[in-house]
Amino acid sequence: MAPVATPFFFYLLSGIMLIGGILVITRKNPVHSALALIVTLLAQASIYLMLYAPFVAGVQIILYAGGIMVLFLFVIMLVSIDRSIKERQFNSQWVVGIIAATALGGLFIAAFTKGDKIFPEHVLPMVENDNTQNIATLLYGQYMFAFEIASLLLLVAIIGAVVMAKKRI
């Protein structure tokens, strides 16, 4: 399934993503932020599809949108947000922070403009049909050790989260 109408979808999706991102960092209510983030993530999953990365897209949907975000929503609902909505939303260093971030953005633009020509004009062809199988081969072959380490990390994270969040252990 080759991507169709690439520019249109790219601009549409990046628009959605950017608007979603802006909403994430500006909304008072964290639930709205979370929903905006979900929209962003889903749009990004679509962009992955455009980049011939269907497996990553699927993982993005099932893990991010389905898993992590549900976790976020859960936590938001568990902790009372009534108070924090009524309070100041930005901290005292927000001006400095935005200046620093803008400076970083400016530098990024400078870097992109300066290094525009370093990327090849034409991308190399990729076979989408075998994407999942190839990823599996890589993941369970070359990256076996990293894969195991990642699962260990997840285990530690599970235990850590339980220890942290449980009232009495």
Partner: protein, 709 residues
């Protein structure tokens, strides 16, 4: 076979008790009876077999008159000699107590009557307790008691004896408090337990003395050492040890001044009173003293003490018994009195006579109690003799059996009591010295009183006019077979057991004394060497005193007759509101007797402190009050003073610490460091977003460097 497996005898009741303890709640009454009574019957059969085998064994030439001892295992300490202690002469001795059994004539007698009377009382209880709650509990306790008592009897050392001793104490406590929902019963149980503890303390100390002095606690070894002549007569340590042992015996056998628990113990069910507080357990003290006879003969002072205490207890309790109205209390005081007789016998060195009295007393006193139980049963729980009367023809079996027992206890020829009591009085009389003669007078007076109060009991209960309420009268009925058959058997024993000790003076052979001879032979020798007596217990024929003996017999028969006559005269026609002869003659004496010489009240004033003497509280509670006062005012005062001083110095110290040490010494450099370190602090602000900002700034610099380098 019976001898080698003698351990089965105490084990059987233990199994019965265990079964009751674990499964009793779920068992039928019939099963409970079968298990408990069956175990005792089996134990009795085994006991008979064991004694029969022992008599055959001990008459062989190698084992002539030797005690039979079998040791199962070492229970306390070790048999490897690793747990040694030093005796008084510095030699090491193993700390060792076995689970071992000793059978000799003395324990044979106890074994026989404990299992025999126990069996009869078990059978009796199946009828008596048939309609009571806690049936299995009762029989479990009874079996446990039998186990403890048999352990006590068959023990081969003081420690195991003490185990049985405490076991019977526990069972006594449990059974007195059987009706634990009644406060008086639970109080009586506690009283019995506590008073026994006092005695047990003495027993324990005595036991320690023996262990320290003799280096062993086995009866055979202790007796052997005592006979070896290593210790002189009147040895102070042995005197102390025996006196302490006697304190224990006083507690268990209800002698002055520790007798007070026994009358209250009548709160328990009547079979319990019969078994524990008349026939068996209370004679444990006698058993223990008789068992320690080798020691006692080495301590004449102790012997005298025993004799005096026994005689005083005898007359003291008998005098109280004269006026009591509760049928079981009369019997209880009678028991105390008879126990006094036994100790009198022991004290004058007539061990065989004392044991003989224990033996006969077990039967007729058990019979009396069981009869009383039967009366109470027929009277629907009424115990006050003032509300009885004229029961004779309504419960004839009870009446007749009790009458036989009364004749026996009063000492009428030829019933059992006559022989045993007479033996005691004769031994006392024949001991030289005015003090002993005085003791004889006391015993003689006691015999008179005994006859009087026993026949008073008979007349008030079975003769005279009916004084009970109408509906109680309506319910009077003879007890069931399970209760009357033991009565009849016991009555036969009350008649016949005395003949075992038919004295030589009356042409008999005194087989009882002869049977016991191996146990007390050594003592007789000691006493003889001491030269205090010319007549000896051990069946030495003394022809020239026969006339004196006959005279004494006649005198005691006359006393019994006199008592009977007085009772007949006073109570023959007792109707409602009859007058007590003593009350009529000397009212103050009657009052004192009725209030048991105010001993309980006196104890309350002096020992427990339940009553105040004026404003002062004496006794245990008084000691507690005094201790509390001392603690509050002196100890706590000292503590508070110490605390106050500490606080004062602490305040000063803290001021110094706060303003001088902390203010100048500690905070000064810290403040200086804080002022100087402010610039460095900016990078570690402590807020996570500040770190992020610093990071971003660093990133900006980084990217800047790479873009514009």
């Amino acid at each position: 076979m019976f001898l080698t497996h003698i351990w089965l005898i105490p084990l059987l009741p233990a199994v019965g008790a265990a079964v009751m303890f674990f499964f009793g709640r779920r068992l039928q009454k019939a099963t409970v009876s079968a298990v408990c009574v069956g175990s005792i019957v089996l134990a009795f059969i085994l006991a008979c077999g064991a004694v029969w085998q022992y008599s055959a064994w001990s008459s062989t030439s190698d084992n002539f008159h030797k005690p039979y001892q079998t040791i199962l295992c070492t229970w306390l300490g070790s048999d490897t000699g690793h747990l040694n202690y030093r005796t008084q002469d510095g030699s090491p001795a193993p700390l060792q107590a076995d689970v071992g059994f000793l059978l000799d004539p003395l324990s044979s007698i106890w074994l026989l009557f404990v299992t025999g009377v126990g069996m009869l009382i078990h059978i009796y209880s199946t009828g008596y307790m048939a309609h009571e709650g806690g049936y299995y509990r009762f029989f479990g306790y009874l079996n446990l008691f039998m186990f403890s008592m048999l352990t006590l009897i068959l023990a081969n050392n003081y420690v195991l004896l003490f185990v049985g001793w405490e076991g019977v104490g526990l069972c006594s406590y449990l059974l007195i408090g059987f009706y634990f929902h009644r406060k008086s019963a639970s109080d009586a149980a506690a009283k019995a337990f506590i008073v026994n503890r006092i005695g047990d303390a003495g027993f324990l100390l005595g036991m320690f003395f023996i262990a320290w002095y003799f280096g062993s606690l086995r009866f055979i070894e202790v007796t052997h050492i005592a006979h070896s002549g290593r210790f002189s007569i009147g040895d102070p340590i042995i005197t102390a040890a025996t006196l302490l042992l006697f304190v224990g015996a006083c507690g268990k056998s209800a002698q002055l001044p520790l007798y007070i628990w026994l009358p209250d113990a009548m709160e328990g069910p009547t079979p319990v009173s019969a078994l524990i507080h008349a026939a068996t357990m209370v004679t444990a003290g006698v058993y223990m003293v008789a068992r320690s006879n080798a020691l006692f003969v080495l301590a004449p002072t102790s012997m005298k003490t025993v004799a005096i205490v026994g005689a005083l207890t005898a007359i003291f309790a008998a005098s109280i018994g004269l006026v009591q109205n509760d049928i079981k209390r009369v019997l209880a005081y009678s028991t105390v009195s008879q126990l006094g007789y036994m100790f009198l016998a022991l004290g004058v060195g007539a061990f065989a006579a004392g044991v003989f009295h224990v033996f006969t007393h077990a039967f007729f006193k058990a019979l009396l109690f069981l009869g009383a139980g039967s009366v109470i049963h027929s009277m629907s729980g009424e115990q006050d003799m003032r509300n009885m009367g004229d029961l004779g023809h309504r419960i004839p079996i009870t009446h007749r059996t009790m009458f036989i027992a009364t004749l026996a206890i009063a000492g009428i020829f030829p019933f059992a009591g006559f022989f045993s009591k007479d033996a005691i009085l004769w031994e006392t009389w024949s001991r030289e010295g005015g003090a002993y003669r005085f003791l004889w007078y006391v015993g003689y007076a006691t015999a008179l009183m005994t006859a009087f109060y026993m026949f008073r009991l008979m007349y008030l209960t079975f003769h005279g006019r009916p004084r009970m309420s109408h509906e109680a009268e309506h319910h009077i009925h003879e007890s069931p077979m399970s209760m009357t058959v033991p009565l009849i058997v016991l009555a036969l024993c009350a008649v016949g057991t005395g003949w075992l000790g038919w004295p030589h003076s009356l042409g008999g052979s005194d087989r009882f004394t002869k049977f016991l001879e191996p146990v007390f032979a050594g003592e007789a020798r000691v006493l003889q060497e001491e030269g205090r007596t010319s007549q000896l217990v051990a069946g030495v024929e003394e022809q020239h005193n026969s006339s004196t003996e006959w005279l004494l017999m006649a005198l005691s028969l006359a006393a019994a007759g006199l008592g009977w006559g007085m009772a007949w005269r006073s109570y023959r026609h007792a109707d409602k509101g009859y007058t007590e002869p003593i009350a009529a003659a000397v009212p103050p004496v009657y009052d004192v007797l009725l209030h048991k010489y105010y001993v309980d009240e006196g104890y309350d004033y002096v020992f427990t402190g339940r009553r105040k003497l004026g404003n002062v509280r004496l006794g245990v509670l008084g000691l507690g009050t005094a201790s509390a006062w001392f603690d509050t005012h002196v100890v706590d005062g000292a503590v508070n003073a110490a605390g106050w001083i500490t606080r004062l110095t602490g305040t000063i110290s803290s001021w110094w610490d706060k303003w001088i040490i902390d203010g100048i010494g500690v905070n000064g450099p810290a403040t200086l460091a804080r002022i100087l370190s402010y610039p460095a602090r900016l990078f570690e602000w402590g807020l996570v977003q500040w770190y992020a900002l610093v990071m971003t700034a660093g990133l900006v610099g980084f990217v800047f460097y790479y873009v514009y380098r």
